[in-house]
């Protein structure tokens, strides 16, 4: 896939006007995600009511791919259960890594707009970082990274219990 198709209008729009951008007044869970290779840093705050994601917000410094991914992710998981969110995390990661074809059965919906990153190995982590950070927050891990032991390209994603 040509890299041009990655910068589709929906991604550019979410980059320009990110949804759920900011902080939550009362959060039950939060995590900071780093991509030390490019300096990206993303904070995700959650308000969990039992198993439900009642509120979610993010902020930080990142590229357009990462910011749009975070914006669309927060829009999609808001109101969902944590196990639904974990399914999406797994599917999004598999899609970005090229293990899941967007035409296969999945729950990603319009998130398949990010399928193009699988052809841009250096940008895969940009798209994954928000999801990786959400997974950490859901599992009460306060800090994660795209590198070393936390690298989502290699480390297994454990389903939240």
């Amino acid at each position: 896939m040509h890299s041009k198709s990655l910068y589709q209008e929906v991604i550019l729009d979410h980059n320009r006007k990110p949804r759920n951008y900011g902080t939550l007044e009362h959060s039950t869970h939060h995590a900071v995600g780093h991509n030390p290779l490019c300096g990206d840093r993303l904070v995700i705050a959650l308000n969990l009511d039992g198993q439900n994601i009642e509120g979610i917000a993010f902020h930080g410094e990142s590229c357009a791919i990462c910011k749009a991914s975070a914006s669309m992710m927060t829009s999609v998981v808001k109101g969902k259960t944590r196990s639904d969110a974990e399914i999406l995390i797994q599917e999004f990661r598999d899609m970005a890594l090229g293990k899941l074809d967007p035409s296969d059965e999945n729950h990603l919906g319009r998130l398949t707009v990010f399928a193009g990153v699988r052809n841009l190995p250096t940008r895969v982590k940009c798209a994954i970082l928000p999801w990786h950070t959400l997974h950490a927050a859901l599992n009460s891990i306060n800090s994660t990274s795209t590198e070393a032991a936390d690298d989502p390209m290699h480390a297994p994603v454990d389903r939240a219990s």
């Binding site: 040509h2 890299s3 041009k4 990655l6 910068y7 550019l12 980059n15 320009r16 290779l37 490019c38 300096g39 990206d40 840093r41 410094e61 990142s62 590229c63 357009a64 791919i65 841009l120 250096t122 940008r123 940009c126």
Partner: protein, 419 residues
């Protein structure tokens, strides 16, 4: 031409026939996504001319055997070619003797060699090592490791907003504890050319030895280590049209002789018993094991190639490219050049308002333009300018003014995507 506008709008005349130079580099004929490759990442690694490729092939096809070992024809031939390469490198930097040229795997290993061979022997608790904000991580981390191990201290020379070292601050850092200075010659992140000769003279007046990291300087300007007076000068083959995996540590013979070996093994010894090993003389003392023979010979061919064009002509051409690119990029609203030192070489770092460098890198790649994005292994420089990253276009003598135009148009069209 009299008006500034007409100067800005026209491309300067080049000091040599650029098309015949480009014809030497087969990789420059590549297309990326249907666009001609515009390779502006030579500061990370430069491309290789056919002359060097042919030399590697000739060595592997007709000359290869292990060196300094056997009496047979090929071993003697390979040894002679390897030592000839050392001789070429000696002349290239005007070292006094060829034994002052140590082959290493690259600049990083050269610095690590000096850290282990000199630093661990002569730097102790309370001693101070002077570095600068502009250093590449490879000229920071080894000294931090040494400082931690030996209880020494790192002192850092600051820069101004243009990316120039504050020489007064450098001189003020000297005291009776100062034991070593290690400075980058040309900043890989900003392109600033540092006044290393002046810095070496000042350090020597205080009896302090100096290492110059020339990884970004040796490809772009004539280096004369005797004129500079430095104690060590380090650089890499792959940034100078040579192969990867080969570099040079130049050191003054008397200092190299006083240093302890870095790696132990074959070739670096005169005799070995389980009771005692006698080390070889320089340069072999620092060249344990089988070296990258082909890469060293290729490096020799690369400096022959550069010398045939002449470093003066290369510097003049790259200076013209840098000036033209600087003028053109300054005309783009919302694009800011990071690093505006009065003396710069071949590197242009920039940020675009509202667009992350990684997005710039991907969008430029769509036009076939290869730039580096990120912190350029110089995080202290990024912290100094309070930015996470930049996009960096770096120029070599095989780049053209038309390629600068393509770069500027590609930046402009990337801005439109995000408008």
């Amino acid at each position: 031409m009299t008006s500034l506008d007409s100067i800005v709008a026209s491309q300067p005349i080049l000091p040599f026939d650029i098309e015949s130079i480009r014809a030497d580099f087969p990789i420059l004929k590549l297309k990326v996504d249907g666009h001609p490759l515009v390779f502006l990442d030579s500061a990370a690694s430069s491309q290789m001319p056919q002359q060097v490729i042919d030399r590697l092939v000739r060595y592997q096809t007709t000359q290869h055997a292990n060196i300094h070992r056997a009496v047979h024809y090929l071993s003697e031939l390979a040894t002679a070619e390897f030592e000839q390469a050392r001789h070429k490198l000696q002349h290239f930097i005007n070292a006094r003797e060829d034994r002052e040229v140590i082959f290493t795997s690259g600049t990083t290993e050269s610095i690590n060699l000096v850290m282990h061979g000199y630093g661990r022997k002569f730097i102790g608790p309370g001693d101070e090592i002077i570095l600068t904000v502009l250093e590449h991580h490879s000229n920071i981390v080894p000294w931090q490791m040494l400082a931690e191990e030996r209880g020494a201290r790192i002192r850092v020379v600051p820069i101004n907003d243009a990316g120039e070292l504050l020489i007064d601050e450098y001189e003020n850092l000297f005291n009776e504890h100062t034991k070593f200075v290690s400075v980058i010659h040309v900043s890989n992140a900003l392109g600033s050319i540092n006044p290393v000769k002046q810095m070496i003279e000042f350090a020597h007046a205080h009896g302090v030895p100096v290492l110059i990291d020339g990884a970004q300087a040796a490809p772009h300007m004539k280096i004369d280590v005797q004129d500079l007076g430095c104690d060590f000068y380090v650089f890499s083959g792959h940034k100078m049209c040579g192969p990867t995996g080969i570099g040079v540590l130049y050191g003054k013979a008397d200092i190299l002789e006083r240093m302890q070996p870095f790696k132990g093994g074959g070739d670096m010894i005169l005799s070995v018993t389980f009771e005692k090993t006698i080390y070889n003389i320089i340069p072999q003392k620092f060249e344990a094991g089988t070296p990258p023979i082909a890469a060293a010979i290729g490096f020799g061919a690369a400096v022959d190639y550069l010398s045939a064009i002449s470093l003066e002509a290369i510097a003049a051409h790259e200076h013209a490219l840098l000036n033209y690119a600087t003028e053109q990029i300054r005309l783009l609203p919302g694009v800011h050049i990071v690093g505006n030192a009065a003396l710069k070489a071949a590197v242009l770092s920039f940020v675009v308002e509202g667009v992350h460098p990684h997005d710039i890198g991907t969008l430029l790649n769509q036009q076939g333009v290869a730039v580096r994005t990120g912190h350029h292994c110089a995080q202290p420089v990024m912290q100094r300018f309070r930015i996470p990253a930049t996009s960096r276009a770096s120029f070599a003598f095989y780049n053209t003014m038309d390629e600068v135009d393509t770069l500027v148009e590609a930046i402009s069209s990337a801005q439109k995507v995000f408008a």
